[in-house]
């Protein structure tokens, strides 16, 4: 009952011995994620937590441990290189948590992804979780609960807010995908919605967006044409002044484009239940979904 990751996921963590990598990998292992390998160039042969083998290259992790998903906690100057290494090792799913990767590096990564079979999630994202089965990233595991709601979002804590509202109401999530706040990212809102649309175990979808770009409008157009599952949405940034980037490099209204109003209008036009405030995301979903 999920998309992209589940109990069969075999995770390799790139940057496993760094401070962020080791802290979050430990948390993920405690949650039950099947971490089969780590990669830190030069530290091949070591063991992480006395159990997880560390390799010098991603290819080694694939060859020796059958890793099929990679998580990246590598610092920004080297993160794009790490993504490319995972792509070259033909890992089908790469999740880049790292915040602050240069845009030029991501443009190069995007060009490489186009000629590969790898899906990238992120960068600058909280990661992905299929509650009860697999948590990859920095989200607090305990706020989630296995269930039927698929959630896609550009933002970390705003996603936790929505997850917690669903969980507090006694329901759960199929998978939550954090696609990240950068202007160039691997997986779009639209692609995440497509995954939930095709997943038989996802009954309802929550889309959380923010100002900037047109990704939310594209997802809305797809939903309007194709999706029968009940959908709710929230767009952050109605009060953000034009021309200022609101924290996320992608969150900017410029030249009258990317406004919250335009996005909400597109979502409403697609028949999506749009929450007026971040406190009413679950309520907006329950208006259209009767579990």
């Amino acid at each position: 009952m999920s998309v992209l990751v589940n109990k069969d996921t075999r995770l390799v963590v790139q940057g496993i011995t760094g401070s962020a990598g080791s802290f979050h990998t430990t948390q993920c292992m405690e949650y039950g994620t099947n971490v089969v390998a780590g990669v830190t160039p030069g530290k091949g042969g070591q063991k992480f937590q006395d159990t997880v083998p560390v390799f010098d290259t991603v290819q080694d992790a694939v060859d020796k441990e059958g890793a099929n998903v990679a998580a990246i906690y590598v610092p920004p100057p080297f993160a794009a290189d790490s993504i490319l290494e995972a792509v070259d090792a033909e890992i089908p799913l790469v999740i880049a948590i790292t915040e602050g990767i240069p845009v030029r590096d991501m443009a190069e990564v995007k060009a490489r992804l186009a000629t590969s079979n790898t899906r990238l999630i992120g960068p600058n994202c909280p990661g992905i979780i299929t509650p009860g089965e697999c948590k990859i990233g920095i989200m607090p595991g305990y706020i989630h609960k296995p269930g039927k709601v698929g959630i896609v979002s550009r933002s970390g804590t705003l996603t936790y807010e929505a997850v917690w509202q669903i969980t507090s109401a006694g329901h759960g999530q199929s998978t939550c995908i954090g696609i990240g706040g950068d202007p160039i990212n691997g997986t779009s809102h639209l692609e995440a919605v497509q995954l939930f649309h095709e997943d038989p175990d996802t009954e309802a979808i929550i889309l959380i967006g923010e100002i900037g770009g047109t990704a939310e409008e594209e997802a809305a157009a797809f939903i309007k044409e194709n999706v029968d599952k009940p959908c709710a949405a929230f767009i952050a940034g109605r009060t953000a002044p034009p021309g200022r980037r609101m924290g996320h490099a992608g969150a900017i209204v410029s030249g009258g484009k990317g406004t919250a109003e335009a996005k909400m209008e597109a979502l409403l036009d697609a028949g999506i239940s749009v929450a007026e405030t971040p406190s009413h995301i679950a309520e907006a979903l329950f208006k259209v979904w009767k579990p």
Partner: protein
């Protein structure tokens, strides 16, 4: 984390951009700068004697030509016949505040005046390179309509806008450059010069990790030369670690002092007009918190993201920055603890409130890891702060308190 990790784009002055252009082989008119009156004579003596001069106020904002100084002097850009008049104009600009349609009412103080050779203009064009979000590729934009607002051209006559996408895997190809130069209607020597300029400009954009490079206008002269008459350049802040030379061009006096102060502590802060301050973890939730304050009838005083792993010191510094703003009537703290544990945040809040002797009403909404312990710490503190369980409740409370204050 570095001092510039939180601002996403770094701006530089026109004169700095032109110096970088010249180094990169992009043709610009000769120019010199002065940062105090004693430097005027020397700066002007470097330009050809008896020729016309352009005097330009240097601020990080557009619309300078049509701007007005608060001392009544009109125009941040003047074309003058000689050095004596140039000096007069420069005196009226330097140290004074220029208000343009992009600076806001408060305007910006001019710390540098830029003198350049005036050149005869045959025709004005528009040329820019930026990152196209929809395709994740750099795009070169050009138009025969230069020297005017390009957004308006795009709106009224989109057929006059040329766009060429550059595949990062292939780089800029010769035929693409020809497409632009022919598209601008150039021929002969002007065509050749334009081709060279576009290649140099694109290389500069790519190798220096620019977010945007804009030349408006690009001009041809009666003798067929092609020159960048203006230059607007900004850089991807995430890439500054590989461009120490660019970091040195940062002009802190152009930035909001509170935002500069916040960036020292890895706090992502943006000042706004309202009176309800907020402190939040996460950019999306911070934006959403501003929105909900507005939804319940209040007006947010700022955007403040303390990040995912804020510690006690950061919380204290965040409060110090918030209360340093006299217009702030109330503060809303909204933390969804994940990595950040609620008890740690609560301790930070209590210590900061005591240390800073905070007088403004405070509403605290905590949720997430160790929330019960966090709430207990707040309750036991004896401080006059209001707890809230949901964000909606917190926003309603803070708006009422701000209205009373």
């Amino acid at each position: 984390m570095s001092e510039y990790s939180f601002f996403t784009v770094m701006n530089i002055h026109e004169y700095q951009a032109k110096e970088l252009f010249a180094d990169a082989g992009v043709a610009v008119p000769n120019g010199t700068v002065a940062q105090n009156e004693q430097e005027f004579d020397q700066a002007l003596s470097a330009l050809p004697e008896g020729e016309s001069i352009v005097v330009k106020a240097q601020i990080h904002a557009g619309g300078r030509g049509k701007g007005t100084f608060t001392n009544g002097f009109k125009g941040g850009v003047h074309v003058v016949p000689d050095a004596a008049v140039a000096k007069e104009k420069a005196q009226s600009m330097l140290g004074n505040v220029l208000v343009t349609n992009q600076t806001g009412e408060e305007g910006k103080e001019v710390g540098t005046v830029y003198f350049t050779e005036a050149c005869d203009i045959e025709k004005e064009y528009y040329l820019a390179v930026l990152m196209d979000r929809a395709t994740s590729m750099p795009v070169i934009i050009a138009s025969t309509e230069g020297g005017v607002d390009i957004e308006e051209v795009a709106e009224s006559s989109p057929e006059k806008i040329l766009k060429v996408l550059v595949d990062p895997a292939l780089g800029l190809r010769a035929y693409q450059v020809r497409q632009i130069a022919f598209g601008l209607g150039l021929s002969g020597d002007s065509f050749k010069q334009c081709v060279k300029l576009i290649i140099k400009l694109y290389t500069f954009f790519w190798t220096k990790d620019c977010s945007q490079v804009e030349v408006n206008p690009l001009v041809t002269t009666p003798s067929g030369d092609v020159l960048a008459l203006d230059a607007k350049v900004n850089f991807d802040a995430n890439a500054l670690f590989r461009h120490p030379d660019v970091v040195e061009l940062r002009d802190l006096s152009e930035e909001d002092p509170k935002e500069v102060e916040a960036s020292k502590f890895d706090l992502n802060y943006i000042a706004l007009d309202g009176n309800v301050a907020c402190m939040v973890n996460g950019a999306g939730l911070a934006m959403a918190t501003m929105d909900i304050i507005k939804h319940y009838g209040g007006s947010p005083a700022n955007f403040l993201d303390v990040g995912g792993g804020a510690n006690e010191e950061q919380v204290e510094n965040a409060f110090r920055i918030l209360v340093s703003d006299d217009t702030v009537k109330a503060i809303l703290v909204n933390i969804f603890g994940g990595i950040m544990k609620c008890d740690v945040i609560a301790t930070g809040i209590v210590n900061a409130a005591r240390k800073l002797d905070m007088k403004v009403p405070l509403v605290v909404r905590l949720e997430g890891t160790n929330v019960a312990e966090g709430k207990q710490i707040l309750a036991d503190s004896g401080l006059a702060l209001e707890p809230a369980d949901t964000l909606a409740e917190a926003a309603e409370k803070i708006v009422k308190l701000a209205a009373k204050a």
